[in-house]
Amino acid sequence: MITHNIKAGRGDFKRGIHPPAQKQLSKDNPVVPLPLPQKVSVPVLQHTGAPCDSKVKPRQKVTLGELLGESTAFISAPIHAPVKGTVAMPAMTTLPNGRHMACIPIQSDSDSPDPKHVWDDLISFSWPKAGLDSYEAVTIVEDVKKAGIVGLGGAAFPTHVKLTWNEKKPVDVLLINGCECEPYLTNDDRLMMEASSSIVTGALLAARAVKVKTIMVAIEDNKPESIRKMRETADGTGIQIIPVHTKYPMGGERQVVPAVLGREVPTGGLPLDVGVVVINVGTASSIACAVIKKQPLTHRVITVTGRGVKQPNNLFVPIGISYKEAIDFCGGLTQDAKRVISGGPMMGFTIGDLETPITKGTSGVVVLTEQDLKDSDELNCIRCGRCVDVCPLNLVPTKIALSSKYRDWSQAKRHHLMACCECGCCAYICPSQIPLVQLIRLGKSLLPKEEKKGSLP
């Protein structure tokens, strides 16, 4: 039996950093639906897990929300058509994380429902806050799976896996993550302000699926409007809105669970191991659409921002449009734009080709300019220990990074290499500009291979 206390966190976690938030660029801009794109191209892998097999043929007509591909693997999520149109010849694309993946291009029909239609439907629908008892746990999970819902916070882990009830791992709290700790991004903030009812309904449905009574929404205290709006909407449903300190990486599961509940997620484990299921606010909203309206996940809110974009904004886009289309809609790149990032600047991936499609896990596009990226020379480590002072997981990043660099695996293991969550606080703070987290990532990918070879003691 779980004997944890409910709500014993201090609203904060130890260490961490306070990077300039830069959210003022886009936080006051309401979400704008993109006009209907001429074509979209939907990658067959947009999540953590197995890629989908295509279920459509070239020249086939598809309607909005029609199944395009699915997989029989448990950890996978099907993909659906974000527009009504005609399937074109399959193509290859390179995802921001560097994987080459097939994608299904669709030429849209002029009479296809446009994103504005889908967005208006989302915000004007009267989402039920009570009387959800008729939805059984099993059907909720089934609907979520069919709708292809994945974590919209960035990791894109299939949500039905999280919601599947496991009798060995009892859950007592559902935590809705509205922290949005990455600098620049404001998509979750806007969603909470404009579509709070769908989030509340989605949270109530997810709670039914995992059979818990306690639902908490964690929101960083730099989003007072969202906190107020969510409190107002959640009134009477028993959902608790918990403001937490504004600090990076508050949105990480290993930080937000201790901050809200005072429970430490074991290294190598999941929040599930301490009786918590964490889902993002965007995910909650799409759960509501999937269960109540049987709508698959085909659109999402993204933030297009940074000083390299002429008019930073929050957009509601069909999945599969290119980064270029989103940026062009926001006035295009400025002259001095230098780096285009999928996701936030702390953990996002840079993209080299602006024709890359936006996927379910894309929370935003941040374009940084030359000025933002003042690159300076890397110096020797002076062992100041700043990285130790900021590491949210209490590691010694400099030792891990340097032992990864020099392939000293016994030292790397002694310093708990594989416990690193790659948040990047260490590289951010390092006064010698050592790419600490980059080196640690290298070590994390090499160590298992070395171990497999059996060359390690």
């Binding site: 074991p266 484990g269 020797n380 708990h416």
Partner: protein, 320 residues
């Protein structure tokens, strides 16, 4: 043209290593001013000799290694000022030059330059000249009559206490109107600079706190069991290089531990050795040797203070 690179893409607005070195130089200003006030031109002379020779040594050794000359990082200047401030006013010019040469060459470059050295370079240089020029740096070097500066007609407070059990007033010790090495005379000046460093987080506060803690405890015990009741804990704290060493020498990031726990152990151990040397050895003062001793312990402290990650250690994979 757009760029591709791994995350994070957010260059920290935090300070760089050279800015940290500049911070140390700023924090040393009160000590330098006090040294100039007390020792007049002698202080100016020592500082000029040591800084110039440290910069020259860094340039020569870097050229020999075929590296570009890293004078801009400011670390050689910091070593020079700290070395100068740890010398007696009367040290001849060649002591400063040889000390700087050894500090940079043997103390730092030989290990691979900034960040690689095990021992505090300034203290390596000072230990070298102290052993090789015992007369020029011994207790007698501090005393002279007929220079027109009143303070240096007396023995240094710790020497006086060691030999004749005489103590000076606490106020002169605290303010710095007493004899000693250039930078160490004023506890107040060191405190101002030291607090600035800790406040800026350029120095870790755990190290001086650990040193003071153990000096207060051991000094208190020594005072209780000793026949010389007039040497109190405050005399131990304000005399000698304790404040200077605690804030400026022990806090050198390169030669101190990485983790907060390690820093506490380092500080407490340092205070222990300072008191042991002061109480039981032939030297009146022990900061230099204590720092070198504890520097040698840093790798082992780092090894045994690896923090437990949040969520516990990485689980061992089951052997299938």
């Amino acid at each position: 043209m757009i760029h591709v690179s791994p995350s994070p893409h957010y260059p920290g607005k935090s300070r760089t290593s050279s800015m940290m070195m500049r911070d140390v130089l700023i924090a040393l200003i009160p000590c330098v001013l006090m040294a100039v006030y007390v020792f007049r031109s002698h202080a100016v002379f020592q500082i000029a000799v040591c800084v110039a020779s440290c910069l020259a040594s860094e340039a020569i050794f870097s050229l020999m290694r075929g590296k570009k000359i890293p004078l801009r990082d400011g670390s050689a200047a910091v070593t020079g000022v700290i070395l100068a401030l740890s010398l007696p006013w009367s040290a001849p010019w060649y002591v400063g030059v040889i000390g700087s040469f050894v500090a940079i060459g043997i103390g730092k470059i030989i290990y691979g330059g900034l960040g690689q050295n095990v021992f505090n370079p300034a203290m390596v240089g000072r230990a070298f000249v102290m052993i090789n020029f015992p007369v020029a740096l011994g207790a007698s070097a501090y005393v002279s009559s007929g220079t027109g500066i009143h303070i240096i007609t007396q023995a240094t407070p710790l020497t006086a206490a060691k030999l004749t059990a005489q103590v000076s007033g606490l106020w002169p010790l605290f303010l710095g109107t007493c004899n000693g090495s250039l930078g160490e005379v004023s506890a107040l000046a060191c405190l101002i600079g030291g607090l600035y460093l800790c406040f800026r987080r350029t120095a870790s506060w755990e190290i001086p706190a650990g040193i003071f803690l153990s000096v207060i405890i051991l000094g208190g015990v020594a005072n209780m069991v000793s026949i010389h009741k007039q040497i109190t804990v405050l005399h131990h704290l304000f005399s000698g290089a304790l404040f200077f060493g605690a804030f400026f020498i022990a806090t050198d990031p390169v030669t101190s531990p990485l983790t907060p726990l390690g820093k506490w152990i380092f500080g407490i151990g340092l205070g222990f050795f300072i008191m042991m040397i002061r109480l039981f050895s032939g030297y009146p003062e022990g900061v230099m040797f204590a720092v070198l001793l504890m520097n040698g312990c840093v790798p082992i402290i780092n090894r045994y203070t690896i923090p437990v990650p949040v969520g516990g250690p990485v689980p061992e994979k089951k052997v299938s």
